[in-house]
Symmetry: C2
């Protein structure tokens, strides 16, 4: 599981800091999460293969999280995309994108499918054989969701020595990997746990931005391998944080601790601070395993 | 008169090439012309004072000419703008921007005034004491206007020696600069041309992008000091140019020659070509005074 940070700063794009966008690589798929202005340039800069992105998840409709989407959608058309592109985001996103494409008389020549979100509770928004994605309802100035990406358990690993010892026929291997026991010709039963090892533990990633401190998400994201939680402010600006429905580094750490996640990645920094190292310092007073997102950084979990 | 090129490449933004946007400095005012994705970052990069921009002119509603506008408008809000901002662009632009701001529940706290264009003939869209801006109807796949920026004639320059010689009272100077003759106490008349010099010739700039070859614009832009004319293609790709309603470098040069402009600036290059120098070579076969726009370049006319 790999996380590419394309942009992780709050508010307006600047020469060296980009608004929110990231790509999650999970089970050999690329998921784009949020799409601030300039995302397509960041994708190019970090040599991420655009064409492998089939699902885009938009947390909320503030510009710094989605003003790059119309351009990316248009660029897919110019690049001759034919595959479906799925956009998951708040109600209204379809009308906005559709209007922009209509005004430019430049509708996509590939199928563009919108999945509009309005549920106030967690909702399964994407699922295939290997991955499931569920919304994490957040609290911000507008309707906002985080997203929980979960790998599904893989098949069990064959214990090669055991199947050899019991002379199990290859024909049974598929069933064995799927957890089945084996009925042998002599009527005996080989239980699956003797023939297989547990598969690697499925990984999970929780993306929570933008949001006020919202402890009721803890249960849903509990035990995630990695949590990206916004930390627009430090505690010294907690008054701004409350007013704008953002979180502080300390609050992000407190969520990480309560949810017992593997790692906390901080981001969505206000550019008012001299160094983002301050966010890590503050968070580590509560939770030890803290990483700082930064544009262009790649995390492997 | 200064022209700052922020972006001048066709289609999608790339790491090193930006879609169309430029700032014209005329009579101490800054006019933003087109606003492709990333324009606000380019404005920062080239240290152009955002706050001095009060009028934005959008040629047409293809993404590479206006997908940077919602972000720029939002950024003005974050920067605490209070002055009016005027956006001149094709009908539909108000609905698009308004919808995006509404979805993000982030209406501007400064007055945002739209001037929607739909006229098929030239139309005066902006005028003050020193500058007038008129649309130049162009031919593209969607409704498109170029813009002709004209300085108004300044006041006449006082001939200091002449007014001293005739002992003209200072009280008359304002009228003299405005072209008036002077009735002297002895009943004689000093004609204005004896007391003043002609003011500097008012400058003009014609912006024509995107457009197919459209010779009927020649009369309107005749004698402009500078013409920016798109040249998406070279003549070798004239078939694509015709199909997509763009122009070739040769066609741009032919317009420049017929209109007898002072200088031709080429831009809106397709990124298919190895070097933009090819555009200049092709154009100079028709018209000598050719400049190549490039991101970050500044022209002074």
């Amino acid at each position: 599981m790999k996380l590419h940070i394309l942009g992780c700063y709050a508010a307006t794009p600047r020469t060296l800091t980009n608004p929110t966008s990231q790509v999650l690589e999970m089970k050999n798929q690329l998921f784009l999460i949020d799409c601030g202005e300039g995302t397509q340039v960041q994708l190019r800069k970090y040599k991420i293969k655009f064409s492998r992105i089939n699902h885009i998840f938009i947390s909320h409709l503030h510009g710094d999280h989605f003003f790059g989407l119309p351009g990316l959608i248009s660029t897919f058309r110019l690049l001759g995309r034919e595959k479906e592109l799925h956009v998951h985001g708040p109600k209204g996103i379809k009308e906005a994108i559709t209007l922009l494409l209509k005004l430019g008389d430049s509708w996509t020549n590939y199928p563009l499918v919108f999945h509009e979100l309005s549920s106030l509770g967690p909702e399964l928004v994407y699922e295939d054989d290997t991955v499931a994605v569920t919304t994490i309802p957040l609290e911000h100035r507008v309707y906002t969701n985080g997203f929980l990406f979960r790998e599904k358990p893989g098949e069990r690993k064959l214990n090669v020595d055991a199947v050899a010892k019991y002379k199990v026929d290859r024909a049974y291997f598929r069933n064995i990997k799927n957890g089945k026991d084996v009925l042998m010709d002599d009527g005996s039963v080989l239980v699956n746990s003797e023939l297989t090892y547990d598969p690697p533990k499925p990984k999970s990633y929780a993306y929570c931005s933008d949001t006020a401190y919202k402890p009721d998400i803890v249960e849903q994201i509990s035990g995630a391998d990695a949590l990206y939680h916004e930390s627009t402010f430090l505690e010294s600006e907690a008054h701004l944080s409350a007013k704008t429905k953002h979180a502080t580094a300390k609050e992000a750490a407190s969520i990480a601790k309560s949810a017992n996640v593997g790692a906390l990645v901080l981001g969505h920094y206000s550019t008012r601070y001299k160094s983002i190292a301050l966010f890590k310092e503050e968070a580590q007073e509560i939770f030890p395993n803290v990483y700082l997102a930064d544009d262009g950084k790649v995390f492997e979990f």
